[in-house]
């Protein structure tokens, strides 16, 4: 286990970083991370939070997506959906997903390409895509 000086993340021994132009100083074990390849595996949470900060959809959009998803999957009102809720974890199969996409298209007056619809796996992703498409339309 080692800690990186620039952040507070730590990583397990199973990772095999390739050290390019790095210096590992004995006692302090300071590593300079220059390889992007495994960096992203080490800091998934940082990436996610950066993504959310940049591209957060309006709460109303998220709310509307939740309503449509709940209706499609016949979820009871007690079930709380969050932006991170994954459709698959809620029991959506591929037919549910395309029905959800269709419902979102009708609700927001947008058109979703097949490539994009494959990438909609959570409420947040759906909301972000909707905002992007609505913005494009305007």
């Amino acid at each position: 286990m080692a800690t990186v000086s620039t952040t507070s993340a730590s990583f397990g021994v199973s990772l095999k970083p390739c050290f390019k132009n790095n210096q590992v100083t004995g006692g302090a074990s300071t590593l300079k991370m220059v390889t992007a390849g495994w960096t992203k595996n080490v800091f998934p949470s940082l990436r996610t939070s950066r993504f959310i900060v940049c591209c957060a959809a309006k709460p109303e959009t998220v709310q509307k997506v939740c309503e449509i998803v709940k209706k499609q999957l016949a979820l009871s009102d007690e079930i709380e959906l969050t932006p991170e809720s994954k459709f698959a974890a809620l029991g959506a199969d591929s037919l549910d997903t395309v029905e959800i996409v269709m419902g979102l298209e009708e609700e927001f007056g947008i058109s979703v390409e097949e490539e994009s619809s494959q990438n909609i796996t959570t409420v947040q992703e759906a909301a972000d895509l909707i905002e992007k498409l609505v913005h494009k339309k305007a």
């Binding site: 974890a89 269709m102 419902g103």
Partner: protein, 325 residues
Amino acid sequence: MSWLWLRCRVNFTMNIRCCQRNFCAASSPLVPVPLPSPMETHLWYLVPNEVKSDTLLNQYLELLSPCERENVFRMSGDQLRKRALLARALVRTTISRYQTNCQIHPRSLKFRKNIFGKPEVDWQDVDDRHLPPLHFNISHSSSLIACGVTMNSPIGIDVEEKQRKLKNNILAFARRYFSPYEVELLTAISDPEFQRQELIKLWTLKEAYVKALGRGFSAAPFKTFTIRFRTAMEGGIHVSGHRDSEAFDTVIDSFDDPKNLANNWQFALLDLAGSHYAAICTEKDRTAGGKGTLPMKLTVWRTIPFVEDECVSGTDAVVAIAGLT
């Protein structure tokens, strides 16, 4: 049942070694099955409602990799967790049956995804290196889980409950996702129930095809290809629902990749367990001489792994709709 899941999750590491040692003695071992021949397809299905024993569920849980277990517990609610667990258990136990003398422990199988995300067996870790690779594909509804197996041919399967109702209007859905020809076909059906059934059947066929291709939904958007039924004799185009099992022709409209010509693939559509439509798509046997499609040679088992297996081909549980002998 929720308490049980929690206990499983905490204790699974301790139970594993125990299970491996006593694997065959603990309950009925998995019945080994001969490999499918290159022209054969095998289909194994499991009905979640038939699995009631927590002990059995625990046994299945111990077969899963840590990653698979994590995925199971990420599901929302007991029913979805059970379904996710049974799906992985079905895949692992099914594939391990095909090893010689049941030597391969279902737990030791490794899986990976191809570059498009389609799951496949990672054979590197299997001891018997002379074993030709099997292909598999899995599908589930809320009440049935199925795993199709072939040798040397990619396979895609899809199962849907016959009673499944769309939340959207049927024709609106078809216009959004299906090809113009298919929309026309469905529009011509006046009875709404029959129309709904035909839509579901068509969905399973298209889904099975895309899964067989294994390149993701966007590689073959449903609108870009048509699946239609055509008898070899008449060469005409029928609305489905004809009595006799007939070969399919698939026609691809405006599809870019010449390597994936429609006539490389064959389909079977069946009424499974009285409750589901099941579509299976595999590559055609190229040695057939190009004279048309031979019907798919399919064998179907209903299973509760470690408990019972029943070959249901030729029974009411398997009723051919099209493409089968």
